[in-house]
Symmetry: C2
Subunit: 152 residues, 2 copies
């Protein structure tokens, strides 16, 4: 008989996310962190949900280069619930942008054309809180369950 | 023959939104603003998309009372693309909340269980920019077209 109480919530994390500090915070919150080299997304929190995390500079750079939409497309193709987390204080600087409406247009495109849920966090602590919540909601897996992140 | 160039983008606005300043800004941006008393949503930007706008205080109040989820449910039932705009600087004050993870949990619930797209803006100007973009993308209607906001 399976003892559900002994199960740990697991999150699969791209190795390149280590320096962000988020994976260590997830461990402190009690999640089991497993590192992989992921092709798509940075954090796999369940079968259906993966998170791409971007700092505000990287977000803007990939937005202007168009790479953001390539990534969004791949994330949405691979997972039913693709999530983008933008970390930093970007929302405060929208008015200083040369074309603020392009920013809102990009967010609308991500939401409606790529079905991405976009969250803004101010720092690694908030990002970890959010990923923790997403993992607890969708990431309960049996210790030897069929969850196979390598396939992702 | 229909002259598409002469069409104006139209947004239907709940009358109680007047004091927010957003409808006037939408007019300045060139949209045709039509006031109604709306049961669901504050701005109807197209057949499929309506926007509920909330100040940060109202957002938190309705979150704690549970009213937010009632509204989200009705918005999602009536429109294929329900949008929530939270206006203010709430994202900066998450760390001061007693239960920040409840905040992220609520956002995750809105996104995944109610299929809401949630946007954070800092002021009426940004809200207007966002609604303008949403209207331009989905709200092109013929002057005597079948678009019937009364039915919404």
């Amino acid at each position: 008989m399976v003892n559900f109480m002994s199960m740990k919530f697991r999150v699969v994390v791209d190795e390149r996310e280590k320096p962000s500090g988020v994976p260590d915070l997830l461990k402190e919150l009690g999640l089991q962190v497993e590192y992989r080299m992921l092709d798509v997304g940075d954090y796999i929190v369940s079968w259906e949900c993966a998170v791409e995390r971007k700092g505000e500079r990287d977000f803007l750079k990939s937005l202007y280069s168009g790479r953001l939409f390539d990534q969004a497309h791949r994330l949405g193709e691979t997972y039913d619930r693709p999530v983008l987390v933008v970390e930093g204080k970007l929302p405060l600087f929208v008015r200083e942008m040369a074309k603020p409406r392009a920013f809102w247009g990009a967010l609308a495109t991500l939401a409606f054309e790529y079905s991405l849920s976009v969250f803004f966090t101010t720092d690694a602590g908030q990002t970890a809180d959010l990923i923790y919540i997403l993992t607890k909601r969708g990431g309960l897996v049996r210790p030897r369950g069929p969850f196979n992140p390598e396939k992702a």
